[in-house]
Subunit: 229 residues, 2 copies
Amino acid sequence: MYVTNPNDYTIVPEPALVAPQNQRSKFLHSRRILKPGAVLFHEGDVTLEVYEVISGVLRLTRVSESGRRQVIAFGFPGDFVGFPKTGRYHTECDALETTELIGHSVCHLEKCIDNPVLHARLMHAALEEIGSMQDHFMMLGWKSAIEKTASFLSVMMERVGRYADKAGDQIEFSLPMSRADIADFLGLKTETISRAFTQLRNAHVITLPTAKHVVVLKPEALLAFAEID
Amino acid sequence: MYVTNPNDYTIVPEPALVAPQNQRSKFLHSRRILKPGAVLFHEGDVTLEVYEVISGVLRLTRVSESGRRQVIAFGFPGDFVGFPKTGRYHTECDALETTELIGHSVCHLEKCIDNPVLHARLMHAALEEIGSMQDHFMMLGWKSAIEKTASFLSVMMERVGRYADKAGDQIEFSLPMSRADIADFLGLKTETISRAFTQLRNAHVITLPTAKHVVVLKPEALLAFAEID
DNA sequence: CGTAGTTTTGAGTGCGTTCAAGAGATGTGG
DNA sequence: CCACATCTCTTGAACGCACTCAAAACTACG
């Protein structure tokens, strides 16, 4: 179980003024490093900053009163997390591995006078987020367990995959999240995720050197299982 | 089947300059009336305007190559629809009934200099949208058929419900969308929606004077069925 | 090496789907 | 205004996929 404590994150002291060619650095922002399991913010906290992931992986979750957990999204490098609803975070956010991020003051969401470039980036990220979530609706709504799992692996493959051989026909990546996280993201149970992995393994589409390390043997076959539209 | 034709919508000629106390009217925007079934925009169209619903109901849908349809959202008065992803609409949008709306140029999304108030409203709407979609994830991910249906009716009750009696303990509203629309919104089949309606009817939580007219006899019981968190 | 947590596999159940038919509503032309 | 066609909604019966419960294999960490 993850526990929050003041040592979980580090605010790296950084002068507000850096090289002028870096637009983001012209105005105040904080750079942080989260340790694995550290909580960045809780559901309901007042939103002071929106975060940009530099390295590592974040997990955004919501838990209902009845205890049912939904993983809303994973935050990979390049993603923005923490967009507020009525001034507050509406998910919990914690780090799955050591994660480096930049916190941008929410005032940049409202005002564009101080830093038009950052404001535009945040607006763009919010619109991208809406589009991505609509894609996820198709997933949760209609796809079967094997299609959901293959879709998830396809996205991982494209976002964090590396070529596993010189020929470039095999792609490998690590899974920073547990089977339970994947299940709660896709609206399935851990046993079902495990069975889907086995099914893809038996079809010689992937291999699992370890439980958290995936090698995609046939990327096209994986996309076919995913029923990518 | 709905057919698009030039007569489906009307651009109401309106001078750009109106009473100065109306912030929205200080800059160019168009007012439109859509007839039932008229298409506002298609998936992939270049986004020129973002729309604000004044009256009526819009339906946002996505259809996959395999023909599976997902209703992303319904647009009720006060809602904004048409936020672009990389400059294009990523859903189809059509009117379920006669719908009045205002089109705001997308330039107000990017620039806030011309009209800071409108820009802030659009940004706020986009952030609200993200939050609402996250709520919907809980729905699609974990709720049972009866919970989904009761949740949907609960939201309708709160958004468009009217008191059906003087005592104020019964609420009625009409359903502008078909059972198929509700099913595609909740990730279920029409038969399942119908069975859930029957189940709520047998439990004396609702009555259906007509198929598209709902009277909620016990609002609290409906919320209980919905497992609202 | 021992304990706790995660992942995998197995067997049986249940909920929503599928397939099918009937009831009700809507619209058109004679 | 009614007959007919079409579409939507409802109900029934059987199936199948993912869940539930249970236990074993594997991993991580002391």
